[in-house]
């Protein structure tokens, strides 16, 4: 896994830049893929690095989306300001929720994250005056990024805007996961019972990770609202929470480039297949998920590093 963690960032970035010139008619799809990659990276800080499962992470994504949309609707049209506000508010929401997410066992944690998800969905649905309820929010316009780059119809600005955010998040998380704090998170994943025996404040570590993860998920949500000019209830629904878990897992939970690939591959397939038939998409993803538990445990990243190991062993 280490092998591809170090070297994969640059090729991925080059591929992303190349896609701008190769698929100019798919820029808005590419923009969505970048955003979902950010969301998956945020989620995987919990699942892949700290080993903690959450079934309600879309809450933070939705929080970010609505924050950006509501700010824009009230005249704050600078996208970067909206992005930062979404990061802070979602992080704050995560911080408030840590108390009930971090304690307890896996069952109660699943339950709580699920419950919070439904609670927030219902709250956003009820608060029609703020969120537009089931109709969503689209009556807002974003200003130019940093006052310079206007969002265009082809989606060129959105492409670079989201890619820049992805690069920043990627670099930040890469640094974080190789830091002492990142090592402590992996310690929690590997053996949460040993951690107190080396004097580690497990809850504090988890709370920090949860807050950072929630904040970045909010950033991703804000990006989606800003670049699609739309915020809606499905951005914080259960299906989105389940999907982010699948993206991380299929890509290779615990590996940053793996998760990016997983998110991109998953979302591309979803876009292509569900246009044809949503029910076959669900059947396919369900079967793949069940299979993934037995074969290809490490997802795409695990498969690649196993392949590299084998090639090296021969050579």
């Amino acid at each position: 896994m280490r092998l591809i963690r170090i070297g994969a960032g640059l090729p991925l970035l080059l591929a992303a830049v190349a896609s701008f010139f190769l698929f100019p008619e798919y820029l808005s799809l590419l923009n969505t893929l970048f955003i979902l990659a950010i969301f998956a990276l945020a989620y995987d800080l919990l699942q892949g690095h700290a080993g903690v499962v959450s079934l309600g992470h879309a809450v933070f994504f939705g929080m970010g989306a609505y924050t950006a949309a509501v700010l824009a609707a009230h005249g704050v049209t600078e996208p970067v300001v909206g992005l930062l506000a979404a990061l802070l508010l979602s992080g704050l929401l995560a911080l408030l929720l840590t108390r009930i997410v971090v304690v307890g066992n896996d069952l109660t944690r699943l339950l709580v994250t699920l419950g919070i998800g439904f609670l927030m969905l219902e709250a956003a649905n009820q608060a029609r005056w703020l969120t537009g309820g089931a109709d969503g929010m689209s009556d807002f316009t974003m200003g130019p990024v940093l006052g310079l780059f206007r969002f265009d119809f082809a989606g060129e600005t959105a492409f670079w805007y989201s890619l820049a955010a992805l690069v920043l998040v990627y670099a930040f998380l890469w640094r974080l996961t190789t830091s002492p704090f990142g090592l402590a998170l992996r310690g929690i994943r590997e053996n949460v019972r040993r951690m107190p025996a080396i004097g580690a404040p497990v809850r504090r570590h988890l709370a920090t990770a949860y807050t950072i993860s929630g904040g970045i998920a909010g950033l991703a949500g804000a990006l989606l609202a800003q670049t699609s000019n739309f915020a809606s209830l499905d951005m914080l629904g259960f299906e989105r929470s389940a999907e982010v878990m699948m993206m991380a897992t299929l890509g290779g939970t615990g590996s940053i480039p793996g998760v990016v690939l997983g998110a991109v591959g998953f979302s591309y397939l979803k876009d292509a297949l569900s246009a044809m038939s949503p029910k076959y998409w669900h059947l396919g993803i369900g079967l793949v998920l069940m299979l993934s538990v037995f074969v290809l445990r490490g997802g795409i990243a695990g498969g690649v590093s196993a392949l590299l190991r084998r090639l090296r062993g021969r050579g």
Partner: protein, 253 residues
């Protein structure tokens, strides 16, 4: 002189079952103190209660004169009370080096840092290498723990505990599950620990106990039956009785 550990009426109950009953134990600073007793005597339960792994039902625990009864396990570690586990509790997917480094980083409260690479911290790496050298694990430093032979994993247990810089180290059957030849070398390492580190260890093998312990406490049915020097314990009729009935089980273990 203030004892390194002192318990007063320490009791641990699970429902109606008393695992540890009214144990008042004194371990002198710098001692090599063994805790023995037949299976189910409550040795591991006593270790759990001492180190805060399980909160005690009643009684008090003092480490170097300081009352730690109300403190969590992590806080007791910060006051110098570390332990190892009878069944390996390791960070199996991390390398040996990472296992030990993590304990050092937690001790130094450096795990709050997320802007620099932990591998670049020279001081931590140097100290980790020292612990590994002591445990004869240097050559395995970059191997994931799960790939190590069991005997080496037992030494990682000890190296992690040492990295917390304890004043008192509680070892719960440090050589459990390894062949006799290797348990010998594990105890040789334990014996080489600095004399100002207080050791309290649980062990089944009487040969090892009588060779390495300077003081022995015998636990039966969760209570202290007797305590003394190895010679006194060896001569004690009651101790022999407790063990004779179960010789088949423990004589060779």
């Amino acid at each position: 002189m203030t004892p390194a550990i002192e318990t007063e009426g320490l009791t641990l109950r699970y429902g109606h079952f008393t695992a540890v009953g009214d144990v008042s134990l004194r371990v002198e600073a710098g001692a090599r103190h063994a805790l023995i007793g037949p299976n189910g005597a409550g040795k591991t339960s006593l270790v759990h209660a001492l180190t805060g792994n399980v909160p005690a039902t009643a009684g008090r625990i003092r480490v170097a004169g300081q009352d730690v009864t109300a403190l969590s396990q992590a806080e007791r570690v910060r006051r110098g009370l570390a332990r190892t586990f009878q069944i390996n509790q390791l960070f199996r997917g991390l390398t040996v080096m990472e296992n030990v480094s993590l304990a050092i980083l937690e001790r130094e409260r450096k795990t709050r840092q997320f802007w620099r690479s932990f591998a670049a911290d020279r001081a931590v790496a140097e100290e980790a290498r020292e612990h590994l050298a002591f445990a004869h694990l240097e050559e395995l430093a970059d191997r994931p723990v799960r790939s190590l032979p069991y005997g080496s994993q037992r030494l990682v247990e000890i190296a992690i505990a040492l990295a917390t810089r304890p004043r008192v180290l509680v070892l719960d059957e440090p050589a459990a599950g390894v062949p006799a030849a290797q348990s010998e070398s594990i105890f040789e390492r334990i014996n080489a620990l600095p004399r100002d580190l207080t050791l309290l260890f649980v062990e089944h093998d009487m040969g090892l106990v009588f060779r390495f312990a300077e003081r022995i406490t015998v636990l039966v049915g969760g209570r202290i039956m007797t305590e003394g020097t190895p010679a006194e314990i060896q001569a004690d009729e009651r101790v022999r009785e407790v063990y004779l009935g179960r010789r088949g089980h423990h004589g060779a273990a």
